[in-house]
Symmetry: C2
Subunit: 224 residues, 2 copies
DNA sequence: CAAATGAGAGCGAACGTTCGCTTTCTGCGG
DNA sequence: CCGCAGAAAGCGAACGTTCGCTCTCATTTG
């Protein structure tokens, strides 16, 4: 019975905060984005299963009926969030194109990944995705797809380094790939910048590791 | 009204499958273990929040009322599982004592950790713990406690290696520790043995990485 | 006016937990 | 040895709550 005359979020407002008029489609996209942002906040706070639709509705400032006009189910929101996070994360690996060397490309990509994850505070979401991917087919597909894309960018770099004898020949390419991808995940999940490890020192340590791993052991006599 | 004459799991059976007589306390401990095993199965299958008490009850073959005689809440079961898993995992790091070198100790410990996690199929549980630790205070304490114990075993090994000039001096000890712990986590969560990476090849690649990271770059001129 | 949009009440189901009651084990006086 | 009282253990219905989701209806837009 209480009349809430909330001037914001009225259905037909058709304008954003800056007063700009928006078309229906634009307004719809904007609402979808608001829902995704709010849902991400809730999922980071409580996990995919722990966050309820009511909490998400409260975070958006929207009723359940309204929210269900934009997403058919909670699962659909989860998938959209994972997909968006995945695409967002992919931007970190653009540095791999045009890398001067395999080692430097890996270092730059990893640092971009770590920095991006830390700054956006999405380490909890990433951990949640990783955990959910072990039982949720759609999330697993998203995660694996992302890893596949990253791997496809790293692999030619390493393959060329191998061809030029720049990598310790006892290490096989697929294994090297798997280890590097796992290492990147571990670093991203742990969010070391947030735990007091400065980015520059982290880069130094990571570079030492990568260069050490890739550097051919020239002093070793019998490589055959 | 239906009389279920289930000959198994009778309260006063006072004997295990092998017919051995058990005291009350022994039987109680045995029941607690059965509950933990069943709960772990459910948590791996559905996650901490996704698994219901009813599912756990069904898995144990016990009624809710009976189960609540052993644990006061679902949360208590989660904490007990995390604590047990943590203690179980600690056995992997015994190889650190008496390691011939820092690098070899790290390799052996990491391989033991990876093998243990993979063989026990506890990578999903580990991922779940890692995710839950970001919002659950008790789980976080357990995870951090575990990491602290492992770190306490690794640190003196690395400190001695540093003192003997066996580690690239540009890398600081705390940063090195943080990176190595993160790498170990990443490898454990990814469960590479289950994804087709043989343990021996994994060990070769990991050893190359660790030795490369620790090996001092003697050829580098200006170390100052 | 027809279509679109959103608020909010409400649905059945499932949740974690508790309750009343029965069965079984244990220790003890006889 | 027996019989019995109390503790321990278990059962399963039911609690109140919250879940994901749907429905109704008022309001706005083009």
């Amino acid at each position: 019975m209480v009349e809430l005359s909330n001037t914001e979020n009225q259905p037909g407002g058709a304008e954003a905060m800056d007063g700009e008029l928006l078309s229906r489609a634009e307004r719809r996209d904007q609402q979808i984005q608001r829902i995704l942002d709010a849902a991400k906040t809730c999922f980071v706070r409580s996990g995919f299963q722990g966050a309820s639709m009511q909490q998400i509705c409260a975070e958006v400032g929207m009723s359940p009926g309204a929210l269900y006009r934009y997403f058919p189910s909670k699962e659909a929101i989860v998938e959209a969030i994972c997909e968006a996070d995945r695409q967002d994360d992919m931007t970190c690996f653009g540095v791999l194109r045009g890398a001067t060397s395999a080692a430097e490309g890996l270092v730059q990509a990893a640092m971009a990944h770590i920095t991006h994850t830390s700054m956006k505070g999405s380490a909890p979401l990433f951990a949640e995705m990783r955990s959910e991917s072990m039982r949720n087919e759609a999330v697993r597909a998203t995660v694996d797809g992302h890893k596949g894309e990253v791997a496809a960018m790293i692999e030619p770099l390493l393959a060329e380094a191998i061809a030029q004898g720049e990598i310790n020949p006892v290490v096989e390419l697929p294994v090297l790939m798997a280890v590097l991808m796992s290492v990147g995940e571990g670093l991203a999940i742990n969010d070391l910048p947030a735990r007091g490890v400065p980015l520059d020192k982290l880069e130094i340590a990571f570079r030492a590791m990568v260069e050490g791993m890739l550097r051919p052991i020239k002093s070793t006599p019998a490589a055959e």
